[in-house]
């Protein structure tokens, strides 16, 4: 759909809310040059540009996915601002971006405890075992930040309560599978 055509910010946000991942690519390509120039001028490498810009557009994806999101600047400016913040954060911490570091926004808690021992890859592996519907419900809720109405609409559930119930069942199933195969110490229970 995107190709080389220009899109308004509103159209892009609509595509994000519809789950069209091409919007990610569009934002990435449109913002590559300015982000690259900034990072390379500030002690970064080409690899850093990739990492940071991907995280930035994903952050926009997460925020824009929610119906409460309101764009107060141009979308490209927003992407650039997030990328800059991410890079400065990385420079200050002196380490690469951690998947558990949440990007501070008005929709996601940024101060989650991190007492985890569980290998994230293992969780991802078991998530696959749940099947596509459970995986999508959980990801749309916990990552994309969609509310139950949006999830119900996206995944063709009859209503928000059904989506909520499905989400709970899927989470408990995942938890159960992990408990079966891993010790309590791995699972922090």
């Amino acid at each position: 759909m995107f190709g080389r055509k220009k899109f308004s910010d509103e159209e892009i946000v609509d595509e994000i809310r519809g789950g069209n991942q091409e919007a990610l690519v569009f934002l990435y390509q449109n913002n590559f040059s300015p982000v690259r120039n900034y990072i390379l001028k500030n002690n970064g490498t080409l690899e850093d540009v990739d990492d940071v810009l991907q995280e930035a557009v994903i952050a926009v994806w997460q925020n824009a996915s929610q119906r409460s999101f309101t764009l107060t600047s141009k979308l490209n400016t927003y992407v650039y601002a997030i990328a800059k913040n991410l890079w400065l954060k990385q420079l200050n911490k002196g380490k690469r971006l951690d998947p558990l570091d949440e990007i501070h926004s008005n929709t996601h808690a940024a101060d989650e405890p991190r007492n985890h021992k569980m290998d994230l890859d293992i969780v991802a592996e078991y998530l696959e075992k749940l099947g596509d519907t459970c995986r999508e419900v959980l990801q749309l809720f916990y990552f994309d930040g969609l509310d139950m109405n949006a999830i119900a609409e996206r995944l063709n559930f009859s209503n928000a309560d059904t989506a909520k119930s499905k989400k709970y069942q899927c989470f408990k199933r995942l938890e159960q599978l992990l408990k079966q195969d891993f010790s309590r110490s791995d699972f922090n229970i």
Partner: protein
Amino acid sequence: MHEAFDRYVTGQMSEGEKAVFLEELDRDPALKAAFDSYINIVAGIRAARRDELKDYIKKNAKIQYIGNVWSRSWVIASAAIVTIFLGAYVVLNYYGTNKATENMVMKDSSGATNDSTVQDITIEHDQVAKNDEREYNGNAQDADPESTEDVTGRPLNTVPYYVMEKTTDRIDIDPTRVADKKITSTKQLDITYEPGDSYMYKYNKTSLVLYKVPAADKKSVYEYNRSAYLSWGKSYYLLKSDGKARELEAIKDSVVLKSLPPVK
């Protein structure tokens, strides 16, 4: 409990609610343990989704970097442009070379041309003959002394030109001492190569024209005792400096040969 966890991680709690929730976690170890377990699973779900989206970007974004080149499409376009220019260069050189060949058709002693491409040439056979004739007649004034090309269009070559001091009045010098002679000059002498039926030369101290002598052969010119000698192959040839076209004749004078650097 699960719902409270959900509201906390999705940022739906107010600051007040958050504070109460965190206090409760501090008070209740079982709740804390359950929350830690929950948060680990959420972290895994988020990491999986993040990786999935990153993979999608990597696979579909058209910007990639290869060293310092950014755009795949620019890489392809640049490669195409370079290929076109290289191809044009090769073609032009090929046809350019052929065109020069047309001007330098060689004739053997019978006067017949021996170039297999003669059918392609546009220069008439008698035109080639006129060029040779002009040179044999020593019509040097036709040649531009400042030219960097010979009359047939081939580029001029240069050879090292050595001026050797005479160390003694006696010419009879032990060959081993010739190597000790001080070479006072390493001037370059412009040399022009012309086709010919026999090995000939024209020399006037400032320029040398050689006929039939291959340009690629190693050669030098030494000036010794006010005479010039061409070193070519395993022989020395006296070069008379009157500018007239003369046959190259190897010198056999052992006294002179001993005075010159040994031929290698």
